[in-house]
């Protein structure tokens, strides 16, 4: 019932000439190779990321002797952990074929609520759970609109992107809250005692481990992939598609709220515009990590690698004296090229096939007067 106009809508621009599909249909005997090919492409993606990461680190080391240094490592990763942790929650959403654009506003909203509660005298140990609940509810709202009403996730979360940001502004106005207790800001800014590992990195790694296990080692993850690859078949197989999709949005909302808390404690201040612009970076990390924006494919390890590639790159660029504005260009270029490269390879293969077929085109019996244009 609730599923779902998107199934129909989803394979959008790619559908009329999906080269992959036509290959699979055209040469059934190649299907094995194609399947293996896909597996190896995905495997290769992570390899590619590791290579990029290695190159970046090597280059970084050329730039500055301090590059490979635990202090620098902690410093460079600590600042990206909010987006990193949100990218983890974004991954299963994109795998099911949805998207959540509202995460950055949830960062702002959760920070604002936290700030107001704290300023109102509520200790943070009570404030933080409340904020996480706000995130959960916000995510549920997204999920309900998408699955029960059958609205496209893109537009729904575009709407709540504005809505949640607006709520943050209503809650906090133009004021800001700061001076959070040191015990908590230490979590945002400090390091695990005796190491150069920021607490936030530890939080990310913990979350990454949880996501990795759930997505890749449990049947919930299996169902997530099933939905992404074939929503109808999943539904026919008794997978509660709507419920699972809603739950993923709820998790994303809660994780975004947690990221909002992290950001507030790291910068020791909340303003209503906390986190603006982060959504795009979150989506970028996921795509760079090999998650297919059309759904069905992606891995958490890939996303983790993308996070570190990004952190290493930013750190290298910073040490090279490149201002932070340019760093986004590098990410953008990396994103486009990482998506184009396999496409190019595929198109080249199709072209090569066509050339080969052209040479061996079976000459049919000449039918008199055949009109071949």
């Amino acid at each position: 019932m609730t599923q779902d106009p998107q199934t129909v809508n989803r394979p959008p621009d790619s559908s009329p000439t999906s080269t992959e599909a036509s290959i699979a249909v055209g040469h059934p005997r190649n299907a094995t190779n194609l399947g293996r090919g896909l597996v190896s492409v995905v495997a290769r993606w992570e390899v590619l990321l590791i290579v990029i990461l290695a190159v970046v680190i090597w280059e970084g080391n050329q730039i500055s002797p301090f590059y490979i240094d635990w202090t620098n490592f902690g410093f460079s990763t600590g600042g990206t952990m909010e987006v990193a942790i949100m990218a983890l929650a974004m991954t299963p959403i994109i795998i099911t074929g949805d998207i959540d654009l509202s995460v950055e506003s949830m960062v702002g909203l959760s920070g604002a609520v936290l700030g107001v509660l704290w300023a109102g005298g509520l200790p943070l140990q009570f404030g933080i759970p409340i904020v996480l609940c706000v995130g959960l509810v916000g995510g549920l709202f997204n999920g309900m609109l998408v699955t029960r009403w059958g609205l496209p996730a893109l537009v729904v979360t575009l709407g709540t992107l504005a809505l949640y940001r607006g709520l943050a502004q209503v809650v906090l106005g133009t004021s800001y809250v700061s001076n959070f207790p040191k015990a908590f800001t230490d979590f945002g800014q400090g390091y695990v005692p005796g190491t150069s590992v920021p607490w936030t990195l530890l939080a990310f790694l913990t979350a990454a481990a949880i996501f990795c296990v759930v997505i890749h080692m449990t049947w919930i993850g299996r169902q997530v992939f099933a939905i992404g690859k074939n929503k109808e078949a999943a539904r026919y197989s008794g997978v509660r598609v709507a419920t699972l999709r809603t739950a993923l949005f709820a998790v994303s909302g809660m994780v975004a709220a947690f990221a909002g808390v992290m950001l507030a404690l790291r910068t020791n201040s909340v303003r209503s515009d906390n986190g603006s612009g982060l959504t795009l970076i979150v989506v970028m990390i996921a795509v760079l990590g090999g998650v297919d924006i059309n759904g069905g494919k992606g891995t958490i390890p890939g996303v983790i690698l993308a996070v570190f590639t990004l952190a290493a790159l930013q750190s290298a660029l910073r040490l090279a004296g490149v201002s932070s504005e340019y760093q986004n260009v590098t990410i953008g270029l990396l994103l486009i090229f990482s998506v184009i490269t396999p496409q190019l390879a595929r198109q080249f293969r199709v072209l090569a096939d066509r050339v080969r077929q052209g040479r061996h085109r079976p000459v049919r019996d000449p039918i008199p007067g055949e009109v071949v244009r």
Partner: protein, 351 residues
């Protein structure tokens, strides 16, 4: 039995026509709401109609409307362009920089701005239509790349209005068709509005009366059916992105005129405002339906809400929340209409 069925069919047809009529009159509905809101605001705050206020409301709305027309073309083909804000920012900055460095006539600046916008749009089109990168990913990438180019051009500087030729920045406040009868003075129509109306009309006519215009709808509505009648969806999508870039270029030039003061970050966040205008204007994100007139009215509507808060001295903090509510309301109504028409369709299969 037979007459029963016939009556049912008639009723169904009427419901269908009604729904169709409502869907088509989205522009009209929105326009009525717009006028009602404006009247309400004017009644409460007389300074709303003051000519300075009208010019400032309409100037920004006109810029967004022009960009929204371009975005609508893309969304009609079932794609999306997130990079418009960066195109606007880059074009605005480059044009201003050129005017600052060289003594060029204003029309040359226009040509540079529009040409640059077109080139950026074509670059999007190549990546999306030829390399088959999903538009949301591709334009996410170019969103940062074009912004980065702006930082590179800006090189840490900003541009002030007194760096620019007066003829350039003055245009923003100029009106035409002003007249005076006795004590009554009609301040005229701001030149930005004239331009926006021109763009909207040309685009609306092209979409309605030219073959490529109709092909945009065909590809967005049912790409497979379009292919069976020989429409090449790749070229159609490429065209949409190119035009979107070009119109973002126009918006960029206007942006420079309006603000004079330009930073490398100018325009940040406008993509969402533009897409919101398109969606509120009744263009379906699933492609194939909607008009550029709707998109332009959507832009004006959001601009009006923005200004209403100011002149009514309401807290500006409400703005985003209202935007969000308006977007969600707009798409839910669309979904409701579709759901109802689909039910009608299912029911009508009774034999």
């Amino acid at each position: 039995m037979a007459s029963n069925v016939a009556v049912g069919a008639n009723a169904r047809r009427r419901v269908g026509a009604l729904i169709g009529g409502f869907a088509r009159s989205r522009e009209l509905t929105l326009a009525v709401v717009l006028v009602a809101l404006a009247t309400l605001v004017a009644a409460r705050a007389p300074n709303f109609l003051a000519s300075t206020n009208v010019v400032s409301v309409t100037a920004l709305a006109a810029i967004i409307a022009i960009a929204a027309v371009g975005e609508a073309l893309v969304i009609i083909t079932k794609n999306i362009d997130l990079s418009v804000e960066s195109t606007i920012g880059l074009v605005a900055f480059v044009v201003a920089e050129v005017l600052k460095q060289h003594n060029l006539p204003i029309p040359a600046a226009w040509a540079i701005g529009i040409g640059l916008g077109l080139a950026l749009g074509m670059a999007n089109g190549v990546v999306i239509a030829i390399f088959r990168v999903p538009s949301i990913v591709a334009t996410l990438g170019t969103l940062s790349i074009y912004r980065g180019l702006t930082y590179w051009v800006a090189n840490g500087h900003e541009i002030n209005s007194n760096d620019l030729p007066a003829g350039y920045t003055d245009a923003a406040s100029r009106s035409i068709l002003g007249f005076r009868i006795g004590d009554f003075q009609f301040p005229g129509v701001p030149i930005f509005v004239v331009l926006a109306v021109f763009v909207v009309i040309v685009a609306a006519l092209a979409l309605r009366y030219t073959v490529p215009g109709r092909q945009l709808y065909a590809v967005g509505s049912n790409a497979e059916a379009a292919a069976t009648i020989g429409i090449r969806s790749q070229s159609t999508v490429f065209l949409a992105f190119s035009l979107c870039g070009m119109l973002a270029g126009v918006a960029g030039v206007l942006w420079g005129m309006e603000f004079g003061q330009l930073y490398a970050s100018s325009g940040t966040g406008q993509s969402l405002a533009i897409i919101a205008a398109v969606v509120v204007g009744g263009v379906s994100i699933s492609g194939g339906s909607g008009t550029v007139i709707g998109a332009a009215i959507g832009a004006l509507f959001l601009g009006l809400i923005n200004n209403a808060l100011t002149v009514l001295l309401l807290p500006q903090e409400w703005l985003q929340m209202i935007y969000g509510a308006v977007i969600l309301f707009a798409v839910s109504t669309d979904a409701l209409i579709q759901l109802r028409s689909q039910r009608a369709k299912a029911r009508s299969r009774i034999r």
